[in-house]
């Protein structure tokens, strides 16, 4: 019987990047080099490591379609493959290099809106919105319907433990039951007026703020998630919990997504990442480059192969 499983293309591929930044005010410049091919497959949790000033964030801005590569002629490959919403086994292949060359900014914005999520160092939740509204923002931007939004937000509130009443810890089984198919359920605690979910973000603790940021980053189920210094606002334990949740939600077999994490913490990177991209400053010039790409041990045997995952080239 012929197998119906399709091969999973790399979610993101980049080769030949030479991105130069110029600060006219300071008359300074900095260049990031990616000379080897970076290819990231579905469910990869990539750690971007390196000392300060080696270009990690700059590389993130290019990978995250936040900035156009400076020298498009030198860029060999920059591709993105995202799942087709209408087909179980189809993928959309986007030549990002061409999109930048043709200045297809609307396409770029759309790609970023639909397939990318960001949990940056400063977080930058929208201060005029509540926790719920911040998390729902990407869903609204992508045209989700209201019931689906409510359901997804509730799910994330629960998963990131953001559904408590302020001052209380409430375990909300109601929607769990709903998710599992039980017929009726009492009003979720997260809907109560004094629930954390209905609080404005300026009332959140540092850990809550970071968790909301992470929840927002993955709320619309993006293919690529960028996390920048997750431990900056959290202690190690809280960061560990948040990243575990993130990995569970983003890199499970049902999702065809990857996660980039910029960090200085080697231990954290080794704990969560299966791919390490190491950057280092270049000698004799203000530049940074990717010096090493290490794919760590294979996925744990208890993590089942997602239907879309196949070895490249098979």
């Amino acid at each position: 019987m012929q197998s119906t499983e399709s091969v999973t293309p790399p979610i993101l591929r980049l080769e030949g990047l030479r991105h130069r930044l110029v600060d006219k005010a300071k008359c300074e410049h900095f260049t990031v080099y990616v000379e080897r091919c970076l290819e990231f497959m579905s469910q990869d949790f990539i750690g971007l490591l390196g000392p300060s000033g080696c270009g990690k964030t700059t590389l993130l801005t290019v990978l995250g379609l936040l900035r156009s590569p400076a020298d498009l002629q030198d860029l060999k490959t920059f591709e993105l493959n995202v799942p087709d919403e209408n087909s179980a086994d189809a993928w959309h292949n986007i030549d990002v290099r061409q999109a930048w060359q043709k200045r297809q900014f609307r396409l770029i914005d759309k790609l970023r809106r639909q397939h990318f999520g960001f949990a940056l160092q400063s977080g930058e939740l929208v201060s005029s919105l509540t926790v719920r509204e911040n998390i729902a923002m990407p869903l609204h931007l992508n045209g989700w319907k209201r019931p689906a939004i409510d359901k997804r937000v509730h799910q994330l509130l629960q998963q990131f433990r953001l559904n408590r009443i302020r001052g209380e810890q409430v375990h909300d089984d109601a929607l769990d039951g709903q998710l599992a198919g039980s017929p009726t359920s009492p009003e979720p605690a997260g809907n109560k007026p004094n629930a954390l979910a209905n609080s404005r973000v300026n009332r959140l603790s540092g850990g809550e703020y970071q968790r909301v940021t992470l929840a927002r980053a993955i709320s619309h189920r993006p293919s690529v998630v960028f996390v920048d210094e997750p431990t900056s606002a959290l202690n190690r334990e809280l960061a560990h919990d948040a990243l575990s949740e993130l990995r569970e939600l983003q890199c499970n077999r049902a999702r065809a997504g990857i996660t980039f994490m910029i960090t200085h913490d080697e231990e954290l990177a080794r704990e969560f990442c299966n791919v390490i991209v190491r950057m280092a400053p270049r000698r004799n010039e203000p530049a940074g480059e990717v010096v090493e790409v290490v794919r760590l041990s294979e996925l744990e045997p208890d993590v089942a192969e997602p239907s879309r995952v196949h070895a490249v080239g098979e």
Binding site: E5, G64, L66, S87, W91, H92, S122, S127, L129, G143
Partner: protein
């Protein structure tokens, strides 16, 4: 196996409209939830627009009221003009012509003034005291009244009376719109009213007086107080009053000594009309030296007199007064004016003495003559003949030698002392002694005096040819020639009969004024009135230069309002711009993450602009609400509220147009001020916006 790759397409309407509503919702939430920051911006924009709104309200209210008040003020609309330069005397017809020639003329009031005296009412206290003292002393009230009258006499209040007409703006500004002539209404200044102890509606006495030569007389009339002019106001000066023009005309007539029938006031004693004669009879002896010479005729012609010999035997004989010798020895000439002066009468101005002295004819004699007239005496038509012969002192008196013994005539002294005398040359005693009523006119009759009846019977006892008279002619009655002259003048409409004084007086001529005050509809009509009057050679006095100043100030004010509004608006845009730039800078991170999440540049632009629009809308609402409140406060009369008693009442009118303008201005101010910040926000590099330019 290779992956199943399909092309990635981007639909055109990729939920764009939905995202647009999302952007608007985000902007609205930003406005409402970040209220502490938003309210400051709303207050700033509202505060920028509010002065303009109030300024417009002041322009529509206070300034418009001032202008309206000025435009319709009596002083502003008044034009004083005189006939001094070369303008016509201001008779009724001339005034009518002026009013018809100048557009938008409300009223023309000829200026007339007269000094009268108000008689104060005795005070109630004074009356009580007088009555009490009279009772205790046993005096009757009349002596008490005499005392109070004497007091009133001493305290007579001088009133300078001016003419007015109903609708006089000068009085209208104090609520006095009408004034009646028949009831003799008068408006007085406060000081006069207080002195007279009268209030509106009260009657009070006014003494009027007139003087002719050494003769003086006074009368008292009752007037009704119509209104009081406030103190220290225009027209409310000391001792002044206003009466209807008709009343002033009657006072003027009274002052000339004429009778005022409307007030039952007789003409002044001695104010008798002058008797005028259109012809004279010149008697001279026949002969070369006695008759009129050629030179005499030339002289008479030079005096404007025609000379013709009288052929009528009645006239020659003075209706039987002269004997037959007079017919033979005397020549009788009729002297009359060559040129007719005017319709009605052409009197001879020269005196008989002047003519006689200058003729070469010896012993010529002139008798004033009027053609006989028909009048009824006791109902029977008679022919009145005027026979007054000069005295010896006047002309030598030689004509008396030619008089019949029974001739009935009057002497000069008799005529002057009593012109209303009568003798009958042909009457029979059966006619009776009288009284004889002469019908001067169809409405007026007067009883004539007659000489002693016994003398008349004796005279009538000897019938004569003269006494018989022509059998088919009217019966003749002889009256003094001056009575006949008056009757001629009466028929000519030059005199009227004064029954009270039993004399003929001149008919008062129509009063002509030399000065008048004209009121135009508004001050804008004054210049053209001034121009017209000046073109008619009237001297003119008006506020036209001041009015030109007001127009100039009005234009300046409009320009000022425009400049201030423009300046404030421009300043507002700059302020909003700087506030929103600052606000956008503060929201860089939020804008950055929204861009990172995929909101397009247009989306960011829309959000910033919409947010500013909402702020502008709220600012407009706040501005209008505060504006209404402030306008109401300024309009309110707080004079009774202690702490706010200082506040004047200022009219501020906010029209819907101005409110719409200001609301639009607030929206425009906010929107324009937000354009550059919105463009700047949309152009932010997403990552730079988050990291503020840091790279690593």
């Amino acid at each position: 196996m290779s992956p199943n790759l399909v092309a990635y397409t981007q639909s055109e309407n990729d939920g764009a409209m939905k995202r647009l509503s999302l952007y608007s919702g985000l902007a609205l939430k930003d406005v409402l939830r970040l209220w502490s920051a938003t309210q400051i911006q709303i207050v700033i924009i509202s505060g920028i627009c509010l002065p303009i709104l109030i300024l417009l309200g002041l322009k529509n209210g206070h300034v418009a009221d001032l202008r309206e008040e000025l435009a319709t003020s009596p002083t502003g609309r008044q034009v004083l003009f005189w006939s001094a330069q070369g303008g016509d005397l201001l008779s009724d017809s001339v005034l009518e012509n002026i009013k018809g020639s100048i557009e938008n003329t409300d009223l023309i009031i000829p200026e007339s003034q007269r000094l009268v005296f108000g008689i104060p009412k005795p005070s109630a206290t004074a009356e009580q005291n007088l009555t009490g003292s009279n009772e205790s002393s046993g005096q009757d009230e009349s002596s008490g009244q005499g005392e109070s009258s004497a007091q009133g006499e001493q305290n007579k209040v001088a009133i300078t009376l001016y003419s007015t007409l109903p609708g006089d703006p000068l009085l209208g500004q104090f609520g006095i719109e009408t004034i009646d002539a028949k009831t003799r209404e008068m408006v007085l200044s406060r000081s006069v009213a207080d002195s007279l102890s009268v209030k509106p509606g009260d009657s009070f006495e006014v003494e009027i007086s007139r003087r002719l030569g050494s003769d003086q007389e006074s009368h008292r009339l009752s007037f009704v107080l119509k209104g009081i002019l406030p103190a220290n106001e225009q027209g409310g000066g000391q001792g002044s009053g206003y009466a209807h023009l008709d009343v002033m005309q009657l006072l003027e007539r009274y002052g000339t000594g004429s009778a005022v029938d409307e007030w039952a006031l007789p003409a002044m004693q001695g104010r008798t009309a002058v008797d005028l004669y259109e012809s004279m009879l010149l008697f001279c002896f026949r002969g070369p030296h006695s008759d009129l010479s050629k030179n005499d005729r030339e002289f008479l012609k030079s005096r404007g007199l025609t000379v013709r010999e009288v052929e009528d035997p009645n006239v020659r004989s003075l209706f039987g007064a002269l004997n037959e010798n007079a017919q033979n020895e005397l020549v009788v000439y009729m002297l009359e004016r060559i040129d007719r002066e005017q319709e009605g009468q052409t009197p001879i101005r020269d005196s008989p003495q002047l003519i006689v002295r200058n003729t070469e004819a010896e012993d010529d004699l002139i008798v004033r003559w009027c053609p006989p007239v028909k009048r009824k005496i006791n109902g029977q038509e008679h022919l009145l003949v005027g026979l007054t012969l000069p005295t010896k002192r006047e002309t030598g008196g030689w004509l008396n030698t030619f008089l019949r013994e029974d001739a009935k005539r009057f002497t000069y002294e008799e005529s002057v002392s009593d012109p209303f005398a009568l003798v009958f040359p042909h009457e029979r005693p059966e006619r009776g002694e009288g009284p004889f009523s002469l019908a001067i006119s169809s409405q007026i009759s007067v009883v004539l005096t007659t000489p002693d009846s016994g003398e008349q019977q004796q005279q009538d006892a000897a019938p004569s040819a003269a006494a018989a008279g022509p059998p088919d002619s009217l019966p003749v009655a002889i009256v003094p020639v001056n009575l006949l002259a008056y009757l001629h003048q009466l028929d000519a409409g030059l005199v009227q009969f004064d029954p009270a004084g039993k004399r003929f007086v001149e008919i008062p001529s129509e009063l002509d004024y030399t000065k008048a005050r004209l009121y135009t509809h508004t001050i804008d009509d004054v210049p053209q009135a001034v121009d017209w009057l000046a073109s008619q050679e009237f001297a003119v006095l008006s506020e036209s230069s001041r009015i030109a100043e007001i127009h100039e100030q009005d234009r300046s004010l409009q320009t000022l309002v425009f400049v201030v509004a423009f300046g404030v608006f421009a300043f507002g845009v700059v302020t909003v711009f700087s506030v929103l730039v600052d606000s956008t800078d503060r929201k860089k991170g939020t804008i950055g993450i929204l861009r990172v999440m995929g909101i397009s540049r247009i989306g960011v632009f829309t959000m910033v602009l919409f947010r500013a629009f909402v702020i502008g809308l709220l600012a407009a609402g706040l501005c209008v609400c505060v504006g209404y409140g402030l306008a109401a406060f300024l309009r309110a009369d707080t004079s009774q509220l202690g702490l706010l008693a200082w506040k004047p009442v200022i009219s501020v009118v906010l029209s819907p147009t101005d409110i719409s303008l200001i609301a639009l201005g607030a929206l425009l101010c906010a929107s324009l001020g937000a354009v550059w910040p919105a463009l700047r926000a949309s152009a932010l590099d997403p990552f730079d916006a988050i990291t503020e330019g840091q790279f690593g």
